[in-house]
Structure formats: structure tokens, C-alpha cells
């Protein structure tokens, strides 16, 4: 394996910057003076250990936006970031959940509205992550993805039905919608072809 590559060089630079910032603090005269004071030495040591651990976690933990996550040695230490992309996008994909009630009515199921909590942010991210992995062109989705979607849809169903016992949901659908980013372009309506496409149903129908 070739180690001297541009990506690794960038990683080394990131490590140098992060550890450098931590060292700058630890070498500061006021911190060094505290280190020389017996009653403060333990506190300085603990702070130094924490900062070094934070820096190490930052450098070694990756792929926080994928679900299910792999190789995450420090699950509660990686700082979120915006990765961006190299070329402009012409459109964006979003996923819409829909429930079909026992009375035959269709209702939009927005996880962010069903769970009115800060956690809603990550439920939204999860839908995107799973949806993208489900609909990768030319690939059969991994069982772990469909299993995660089944469980997630079951949760949405239970939650909706507890809030609306008068008209419970019997079936759940996940639709993929492509939104054009050009100014003035028509926005496709959700849950309707051809702008949207049905990518998943719950209870699952699988061979």
C-alpha cells in the first residue's frame, strides 16, 4: 500500500495543526507555572491528558455521516464538519416518508415532526443515509440496510399510531424525490410519479 499520498499528507497536516494548538496551550507560561505548583499539577495533568485524547480522537475517527457506522474508536468525540463537494450539483435528493391509514388516507410522516426533539436532526440524516444506500444503482441493498429500514419504519408507525389512534397507519412507504436546484425549475410534488419514485414499503414485500 502506498502511504505517501495527498490524502495522507492532508491528514498529517491536520494532526500537526490540532496537536500544535493543544501544545500551544500546554506550553503557555501560565500553564507551565501551574504545573510547577504542586497543588495544581494533577489538574494540569488531567487537562493535558484530556486535550491529547481529544486531538487523537479527532484525527483517528472518521465516517460519522454513514449509517451504520464502522470503525469508530471514539464514538463521542468526533466534531461534526461540513465536507462539501468539488463540483456544483444540479439537483438534490430527498426522501419522504408516507403512511397509508386503515381508512385508506395517505399522510406524510416527517420524522422531525413526529419526534419534536433535537434528535430529529439525526433521524433525518439516518433516513438520507439509509435511503442513499438502498437506492445505489446496480447494487442490491445489504441486508443490514433493509433490516435497519424495517426497524425504523416500525418505529415511525408506532409513534404515529400513538399520536393518532383514531386513524392508525397500516402501511408505510419511502419515496425518493429529486429536487432541481436551478432557479425557476418546477419542484416535483412528493409521492407522485414521475418526479418521485417509491423505493421501499413497510411491511416489507420481499422474495
Amino acid at each position: 500500500m502506498k502511504w505517501i499520498i495527498f490524502e495522507n499528507a492532508k491528514l498529517v497536516l491536520e494532526a500537526a495543526a490540532v496537536f500544535g494548538a493543544v501544545l500551544l496551550f500546554l506550553l503557555h507560561p501560565s500553564v507551565k507555572k501551574a504545573w510547577r505548583t504542586a497543588s495544581l499539577r494533577m489538574i494540569v495533568g488531567a487537562i493535558g491528558f484530556l486535550f491529547m485524547l481529544e486531538a487523537l480522537a479527532q484525527i483517528t475517527t472518521r465516517n460519522q455521516y454513514t449509517y451504520p457506522q464502522k470503525h469508530e474508536p471514539f464514538p463521542f468525540t468526533r466534531w461534526a464538519m461540513f465536507a462539501g463537494f468539488a463540483a456544483s450539483m444540479e439537483n438534490g435528493v430527498i426522501y419522504d416518508w408516507r403512511g397509508l391509514t386503515t381508512t385508506g388516507a395517505a399522510v406524510a410522516l416527517n420524522p422531525a415532526l413526529l419526534y419534536v426533539t433535537p434528535n430529529a436532526v439525526v433521524l433525518f440524516t439516518k433516513t438520507h443515509s439509509l435511503g442513499d444506500q438502498l437506492t445505489s444503482e446496480g447494487q442490491t441493498p445489504e441486508p443490514v440496510i433493509t433490516k435497519a429500514l424495517d426497524a425504523f419504519a416500525q418505529g415511525l408507525k408506532t409513534r404515529y399510531n400513538s399520536l393518532h389512534p383514531e386513524a392508525p397507519v397500516a402501511k408505510i412507504e419511502l419515496w425518493k424525490r429529486t429536487l432541481p436546484l436551478q432557479r425557476g425549475a418546477q419542484v416535483p410534488a412528493p409521492f407522485a410519479t414521475p418526479g418521485s419514485s417509491l423505493v421501499y414499503t413497510f411491511p416489507p414485500v420481499r422474495s
Binding site: 463540483a87 416527517n110 413526529l114 418505529g155 409513534r159
Partner: protein, 424 residues
């Protein structure tokens, strides 16, 4: 560094801020709602990953969620009021916060910055110093804080404040590392803003798209995005040298408001945590360097050098507490202090003497700057640079110092601040 005048009182306020934010977070997060999610949807992470599957199923039940909310809320309330041993209450709060995030995030996605910042902030309150003042416990029964408490509080406050800014730095660096530089020329911000407009139906998609396509708004995003990254990178340095704290705070607040409007992510915890540098600024507003006007630092300088003359005039004005005195290198005071210089004037160097301690070159320049409130923090930071390197830079500047002309009017009286501090 910031919090030069930090005390247990300020540290206690910081503790109230952190525990208050965590308590508010718990109150606005409807954790029991997650009981509707089946255990199969849960991805155990962190400490939860060590639990047997049967245990996990037991805790992912409505009863556990309700009970945990009560216990966690109780621990945070105790910490907020400052009751009990600090290490025990804070330790429990840390464990509960880990479990809280583990439960909430186990159903998907990643732990967000605003949650990490709160979890990690608790580390700084394991020491009992945060309970030495501003707690109900201390106010009602305990003795006032002593100087050791204050020293420890100052250290922890500085570390906490630096660490909050360090998290922004880490994000900025990670963004630069993972992003392609071409991202600044793309419609990335528009893309994400549009994508997230669908999240809570907060913005109408078409409306958001049309607003974002306005040339002025597009330009604003393209300019402010890299600018915000630069500010993030400067944040830890800002608290170390106590410079640009206000502009950085205001910019980061505006940045978080923009994130709320564009991406529907409200970093309210971060916005509140940014009050910490503000608390540091408030604590330090009357800070003066330590020293005594009776035993001042005597600065011996080359009076025929324009650069030295300008430097001395500046520090004399900046020395508000009157901790500096100035004397020529070839004057009587220098002779009294047994200071001798080579024949060649180009090899003369600035000297600073405080009691028996005599410093020269960069050490002297930094010791002088350390006596002025304006430059003390920068001098502190510059001391970290190895002396050999500092002196090398000093020699280069010293070699060319006579290129800077003296003030034209040689007979002009020095300013009053300098005249009062001049020695023969």
C-alpha cells in the same frame, strides 16, 4: 491568557452555565418518545455497546426512559445548585449525559457538535473548586474560597474557555482537510440549505431556492463561509492573546443563526457556551500586570536608535501601572548596574533589569512587553518560541534598527509619560 482575574466565583458561574444548558437540553428533548422505536433500530455505541443484548432490550422501554429522565434531571439540578461532592455529582452527570446521548443517538446519525461540547465541558467541573463559590451549599454553609481555590479555578476556566474555542478550531481544520478547495466555487451551501429546508418544512423549498439564487445572497454565502472557517481557526489564539474576542464571538453567533436558517440545525448550546469568553473578558476588564512601582523594571536602551526610541515611547505610554523605568545604555544608571556594551554601537542590545535579574535581547523585549496590559498576552505566547529562534529574529531587526531615523525634532521634549520614567 483570558481569565487573568478568574476566581472561584467565575468558575461557579461557568458551572451554572454548563449544568443549566444540560438541564435545558434534557427538558426540550422528549426522550420517552423514542420508546416507540424497536430495539432493532438501535445501534449501541460507546458504553452502551458493552451491554448484553438482553439488558439493552430492558432499557429501551418507556419505563426506563421516564425513570432515567427523572434521575438525570435530578443529578443536573443538584450540580446546578452545587450540592454534594463535586467529583461525584459531576461524574454522575457525565455518565448520565453519555447514556442520554447514547440513547438518543443510538436510533440514528451522529452526535452533534452542540452535544459533544456539553458532554466534554463536564470534565472541567470534577474539581471541587467549582463548588467553592456560587453554590447554594457554599453560600449557606461553606467557607469563602482561598487563593489556592482561585488559582485552580483560574486554570480550569482558562482550559475550559480554550477548549470551547479549540472545538471550533478542530472543525475548521477538519473542514479544510476533508473539503476540496473547489467547494468554495460550487453551490454547496445552496445545496445543503435546500436539502435541509425539507427537514421540518421550515422553509418552503421553492422560496428558499429562489432566495438562495439571488446574486447578493449567493455572494454573501460564498464570502462568509471561508471567512467563518478563518475565524474558527483563529478562535483558540484569540482567547490566548485576548484579541478579537468580541468580533469572533459575534461572528460565530451570526454563523450559528445562519446555520439555523439555512440548515435547520440550531446550535443553541454552542451559542450559550460562547458566553464563557465573554465572562473572561468581564473578569479581566481591569487587569494590570503584576509588579510594584517601587521596584520597577529598568529598561536600558540605545537612545540614538530611532526604532528603540519609538519602541520606548510606545511602551511608556502603554505602561499604565508605572512598572517601567527607562535609561540610556551609556548613562549613569547603566554604569551603576554594571552594564557594559561593546565599542561597536551596532552590537548594542536592549537590556532589562528587575532586581538582580538582568535580561537581554528577545528576553528583555518580551519582559518589557509583559509589563503592559496591551502586549502582555502576546509576550506570554511569544515566550513559547525557543530563545535561539527569538534571538535570531531580534538580531536581524537590531542589525537594521539604525535605518529607522530618530524623530526629526531632536530637541523636542519626550511625552510626559516617558519623562516621568526617564533615568539618567
Amino acid at each position: 491568557m483570558i481569565f487573568k482575574e478568574g476566581t472561584t466565583f467565575h468558575f461557579g458561574l461557568a458551572r451554572i452555565l454548563v449544568f443549566g444548558i444540560l438541564l435545558l437540553d434534557l427538558l426540550v428533548d422528549d426522550l420517552p418518545a423514542l420508546a416507540s422505536m424497536p430495539a432493532e433500530a438501535f445501534l449501541p455505541r460507546g458504553v452502551l455497546g458493552w451491554l448484553p443484548a438482553s439488558w439493552l432490550e430492558s432499557i429501551l422501554q418507556p419505563g426506563f426512559y421516564h425513570g432515567f429522565t427523572l434521575v438525570y434531571g435530578g443529578v443536573l439540578l443538584v450540580g446546578l445548585c452545587g450540592f454534594g461532592p463535586a467529583w461525584l455529582v459531576t461524574g454522575l452527570a457525565m455518565l448520565c449525559t453519555l447514556l442520554f446521548h447514547g440513547l438518543a443517538r443510538g436510533f440514528g446519525g451522529h452526535v452533534n457538535h452542540q452535544e459533544l461540547i456539553m458532554l466534554h465541558s463536564l470534565f472541567f467541573f470534577l474539581s471541587s473548586r467549582s463548588y467553592a463559590a456560587v453554590s447554594l451549599n457554599a453560600l449557606l454553609w461553606k467557607r469563602p474560597a482561598d487563593e489556592t481555590d482561585n488559582e485552580a479555578s483560574r486554570l480550569l476556566l482558562r482550559a475550559l474557555c480554550f477548549w470551547v474555542m479549540l472545538t471550533y478550531f478542530m472543525i475548521g481544520v477538519a473542514r479544510l482537510q476533508t473539503s476540496d478547495w473547489r467547494v468554495y466555487g460550487t453551490n454547496a451551501m445552496t445545496f445543503y440549505a435546500l436539502l435541509h429546508s425539507a427537514k421540518w418544512n421550515f422553509w418552503n423549498f421553492s422560496l428558499a431556492r429562489d432566495v438562495l439564487h439571488q446574486p447578493w445572497f449567493d455572494l454573501f454565502l460564498r464570502v462568509t463561509f471561508p471567512l467563518a472557517t478563518l475565524l474558527e481557526l483563529a478562535a483558540p489564539l484569540a482567547v490566548m492573546v485576548r484579541r478579537l474576542v468580541w468580533p469572533i464571538l459575534i461572528s460565530l453567533w451570526l454563523f450559528h443563526i445562519a446555520i439555523l436558517l439555512c440548515m435547520n440545525i440550531f446550535f443553541w448550546q454552542n451559542m450559550l457556551m460562547l458566553l464563557l469568553p465573554l465572562l473572561g473578558w468581564y473578569a479581566d476588564r481591569r487587569w494590570q500586570p503584576s509588579g510594584s512601582a517601587d521596584k520597577p523594571l529598568i529598561v536600558f536602551y540605545d537612545a540614538a536608535c530611532g526604532l528603540c526610541d519609538g519602541f520606548i515611547r510606545h511602551v511608556a505610554t502603554a505602561d499604565r501601572a508605572g512598572l517601567l523605568r527607562f535609561a540610556p545604555l551609556n548613562g549613569i544608571t547603566a554604569q551603576e548596574h554594571h552594564i557594559t556594551m561593546p565599542e561597536n554601537r551596532a552590537e548594542w542590545t536592549i537590556i532589562a533589569a528587575e532586581g538582580d535579574q538582568v535580561m537581554d535581547r528577545s528576553d528583555a523585549a518580551l519582559a518589557i512587553l509583559a509589563k503592559t496590559p496591551l502586549w502582555a498576552d502576546i509576550a506570554d505566547l511569544a515566550v513559547i518560541i525557543p530563545r535561539a529562534l527569538r534571538d535570531k529574529v531580534y538580531r536581524i531587526v537590531a542589525r537594521w534598527r539604525h535605518m529607522v531615523p530618530l524623530k526629526k525634532d531632536a530637541c523636542e521634549l519626550p511625552p510626559l509619560e516617558l519623562r516621568r520614567k526617564l533615568l539618567p
